[in-house]
Symmetry: C2
Amino acid sequence: MSAGARLSLNTATVRERWNLAQAIDGCARHGVRGIAPWRDKLAELGVTEAARRIRANGLTVTGLCRGGMFPAADAAGRRAAIEDNLRAIDDAAALDAQCLVLVAGGLPPHSRDLAGARGMVADGIAAILGHARAAKVPLAIEPLHPMYAADRACVNTMAQALDLCDLLDPAGRHGELPRQSPDGVPWQPAAALGVALDVYHTWWDPNLQRDVERAGASRLLAFHICDWRVPTRDLLLDRGMMGDGVIDLRLIRSWVESGGYRGLHEVEIFSAADWWQRDPDEVLDIMQQRHERCC
Amino acid sequence: MSAGARLSLNTATVRERWNLAQAIDGCARHGVRGIAPWRDKLAELGVTEAARRIRANGLTVTGLCRGGMFPAADAAGRRAAIEDNLRAIDDAAALDAQCLVLVAGGLPPHSRDLAGARGMVADGIAAILGHARAAKVPLAIEPLHPMYAADRACVNTMAQALDLCDLLDPAGRHGELPRQSPDGVPWQPAAALGVALDVYHTWWDPNLQRDVERAGASRLLAFHICDWRVPTRDLLLDRGMMGDGVIDLRLIRSWVESGGYRGLHEVEIFSAADWWQRDPDEVLDIMQQRHERCC
């Protein structure tokens, strides 16, 4: 198996220098077998053309980034968010994506009502779940680090995301949507609603191992990797390459695999001062070396 | 009751412009009834002189900041941390402090062993608890925001802190150390080991209300307030004054008071670009206005 055979490239990792067509070509050139596009890059290339190129290169789409962002100040805003999510589901279906990643959204403007925002997230997911199920696109709630609770996502732990799964898709532990592992090994069907586990957001969580187990194979829909730098110089744009930080990636990978996850490992690095400045071909080389050495 | 009658000043809030003697005088001048010194400021003035001035002005010491920082790369380092904590307990006793605040400490250098660091914290607290109990100084574990898990504190939620209390001081729910509320209202004795609840670190936690209730009156040893700015421009030094951010301070205060807390509200603001630049007399005025309006 080549170094890239377990890897997927989240396009955020190279977003300053590559458009989606370049990222697809780059993955193919480097033997990286998966890709996770962001919707801005997807819109530039067009969904049909993107799907054609991705298929032509035999890439797995480990997720479409992103839906969610449900809380809004008024009903019209919440409705607009739901409409946008329905379109995202259609795009994810066209790409044959393994999931649509949902970033919950934070507090509406001028609001301090965190419980209210969390209720809006539940309502928003409830409103799109039927469409996702019909389109055979699993929805992956991605808990974001608590430092983003106000402005990006008010779902901040695996436990919280799994409580939403239990509430909105109680039968989901058994899975219902067919899926294929990248290496052909039979894999439990995906739940219609599950979680995307990103080590950056969750590595600190004292209950992480317990909650990975709780998620189980059907609800573990994506596994995102990078590293937590010490010091972290910026709340948003200072993620590290695997091995540059303090996350015990091998340990978390072992939990995820014990939980039954057989998918690719998606590398998502927001790094304004470092990795975004580099030649993406170099980034893909290093990403593969580091994955072998540190994960 | 004056605006400052429920307030305590954590000296970090004015640390760039006032030494401890000035902070004591400032509290007295503004009618702020409590103070929480940091040990660097305390060392400058000397413990005996500090205790004399604090008593002369009738101030309550809501906590001494800080002990903790237990994890270390080797046994000598861990032993040194414990020795330092024993000295801190003596200082807290000399000041008649309502608690010694414990900030757990993060990962030792070059370590990714978060569970190991957490074990060192438990061992460290176990090693000092007897001395604290004998000195009648309650130890207040302060869970820090998960963004500090690597470099400052690997105890990151109230639940985690309370699990440590249950483990190391199982009888603590009933309290054993006498204490007096600032307004003379009878108040449940303090546990030897409890928690310091800082809204900045915990406001995002979906289990906060549950865990405040779990702590109860005997284990709620301190209540720290400030606000979470959006955007937050720096991981460490960009806290907001109450009312400048998104924390529902009234709500959290209601939980804390329902839980039986009768102590002062300690204002702790690390703010390099804003509040540290201002005249501390102005800061104390605004802090009292904001406390009345927003908390």
